[in-house]
Structures are given as C-alpha cells and as structure tokens.
Symmetry: C2
Subunit: 215 residues, 2 copies
C-alpha cells in the first residue's frame, strides 16, 4: 500500500515524463531534467521506477490503454454503422486533442523511438482489427461504399496524429494557438467529412441510381 505522498509524486513524475518524452523522444529525454521539473533529485526517481525503460513503458501503457478503451466503448455501443463511425471519429479526435503529448509518444514509438530492449506489444493490432472489421461489416450490408478498409483506417490514424503533432509546426497559422478549441472542432469536422465522402455517407445517391429510380 502506497502512501498518499508517494502516489502524488509518482503521478507528477509520470506527467513530467510524458511531456519530456513527447518533446525530446526517448533518447533525448534526460532523467536529470525530469527530476528538476518535478522538484526532486535525480536519484529519487529510481525509488519509483527502477530504470528509464520502466518509466517509458509506464507512460506508454497509459496511452495504449486509453486508446483501446475509447475505441471499444464506441464500437460496443448502439446505433447504425453511419452513426457509430461518426461517434468513433469524434471520440478519437477528441482523445488525441486532449492528449497531444501522448499521441506524439505513440507516433514516435511507431517510428522506432524506443529503448532497444523494448518489444512493442501487439495490442495495437487488436484495436486496428476491430475497427477494420466494423468498416467491413458496414460495407457488406451496403451502408458504406467500397474502399479498402485497412487503408482507410490507417490513413485516418495517420491523418489525425499528424494534425495534432506535426501540423502545428508546418502550418501554425491554420492550427492557431495551442490548446485552442477551434482547431479541435475543425479537425473533427474535416475528418468526419473526409471519411463520409470516402464511405459515401450522407450524400445523395448518384445520377446512375437516380436514373434507375426515375425509370
């Protein structure tokens, strides 16, 4: 059983570590700086985490867990496929927007920015598969237009991640001030619109279909 003081310090370390790992990457992160920002000595960190690797994994696991939870929660809920995919995208964008540091770390991790000893868990595969299965089912019952579901899902993940990590550097004017709620809504609307157009949701049927109907 941990004391309340210990739990508080541990959380502050995780907070600061998340910030540093996002900004500087694993190899660029200095334990010395983390301790400094937390307000403790470097050696004290090793009381909470036996090594830099362990601290990294603790931060990473938080992010993976929340991603899976967010996706599962929507997929397991009710509603038509079209409604659910909108909910899914909005929940995902909001989650990413609320934790940009976490997203940066996950993106870095997928680029290979991790301790050499770290072998990533196949958790990401499961979440991805769940989303792909959902899209495929929607296509099978003709509610979604045909398009490669894996490519669509991967593309959306890359797109959203990019908006909240790299885009602020490339297009600061468009992104606005960091933490500005405007950009979140803008990205949300855009991503929903892109996916809707790709899956043929919310659009009038095509002329071909109209001709058949008229005939």
């Amino acid at each position: 059983m941990r004391t309340s003081a210990e739990r508080g310090t541990r959380e502050r370390i995780l907070e600061v570590a998340e910030s540093s790992l996002a900004e500087c990457g694993y190899h660029g992160t200095r334990l010395h700086r983390i301790a400094e920002r937390v307000g403790i000595q470097k050696a004290s960190l090793f009381h909470y985490f036996p090594s830099k690797d362990d601290l990294y994994r603790a931060v990473l696991d938080e992010g993976l867990d929340e991603t899976e939870q967010t996706v599962r929660q929507v997929l397991d809920g009710g509603g038509s496929p079209s409604e659910k995919i909108r909910q899914l995208l909005e929940a995902y964008v909001e989650m990413v927007a609320q934790h940009p540091d976490r997203t940066k770390i996950l993106l870095r991790q997928s680029l290979g920015d991790a301790p050499a000893s770290y072998h990533q868990p196949p958790d990401a595969h499961r979440v991805l598969s769940a989303v792909v299965a959902f899209v495929s089912e929607g296509q099978r019952i003709k509610e979604f237009a045909p398009i490669d579901p894996v490519a669509l899902t991967l593309g959306v993940v890359g797109m959203v991640a990019f908006f909240f990590t790299s885009a602020p550097v490339l297009a600061p004017a468009w992104c606005g001030d960091p933490g500005n709620p405007t950009i979140v809504e803008r990205v949300k609307e855009h991503v929903v619109e892109v996916v809707a157009r790709c899956l043929g949701i919310g659009h009038e049927p095509t002329v071909a279909a109209a001709k058949v109907a008229i005939a």
Copy 2:
C-alpha cells in the same frame, strides 16, 4: 575541389547517416556506429562534417530539397487541375516510397527530433502554400468540390507519411514485405481515390444536380 575518393566517402557517410537517423532518431544516432558501418574510424567523420549537427542538417536538406522539387515540377506542368492533382499525388507517393528513411527523418523532425540548436527553415511553408493555392484555384473554378484545402493537404501528407513509416509496424500483413512494390501501388491508388472522393472528381453529379438538369 574534392578528390573522387573523398566524394565517395562523403556520400557513403550520408547514406549510412540517413539510415541511422531514420531508425534511431537524432539523439539515438551514434557517430561510432556510422563510422563502423562506413568502414572508417569515428574521428575521420569529423574530416567531412565538423559536427553531428552539420551531418544531420546535410541529410535533412537533401530531403527537403527533393520534396520541393517533386511538388514544383508537377505544379508547374500542364494539364487540367484534376489531372495535375492525380499526378501530384502519384509523384509524391512514389517519392516517399522510394525514400522511406528520408520520410521518417522529416516526420521525426516535425515532431521536434532535432538538435536543440536547429531552427527549422520555413521552406515547408512555401511548398504547403503552393499546393493549397493550387487546390483553392481548382475550387474557385468549380472543378473541385469545396473542402478545407489546408486540412486536405495536411491530412494527405500525414496519411502518406504514416503509410510508409508507422503502418509497417502496425499492420505488417497489409503492408507486405518491405520494398514490395505492391504496397506502393496500393497506397497510390488509395490516396488518389480518397482525394478524388473528397474533391468530387470522376464521380457522377449528385441527384440534386441531376434533378435540376432533368427539370
């Protein structure tokens, strides 16, 4: 004037450095390893590049230059907006596919993985602006459907980068073997299709338009 031997070594260093920077990032890259793989002593590196920073910038500049060239070449060419955007996407995807290491480095760079002394040049802004201006013009003359051109461009960049950097880790089965030409064609087709649907290219007019036409 450099000797041919010197030029050869310099190029080999740049090659190996690009590979290492992509795999390990700036802070994770060890000059010792680069020298080892090139087959020279670590100290010899400093004959070609005065510091690790300079080596990094040399690699990075190569990537930025080629990106700008690729984009400009298509934009300055002839053809209708719809044809040009397809050419642009295909050229871009091919460039990224041919230089995945370079793409990883650029993506890392936009995440802030660079020496503290490095202040990125605003070059990326110019290329982005050129593409956005092109899309906007296509929308003005009604050849493209309305959608936020900045968001579309940023999203495509993120999407494509993700396909060739992170996706192989997340969905190895879908991506196939590295260097497999299949994935390049698949990504190319997908990205062209997504953008086409977003910009309303190559699709029948909607029912609303058809009704007006029939009336």
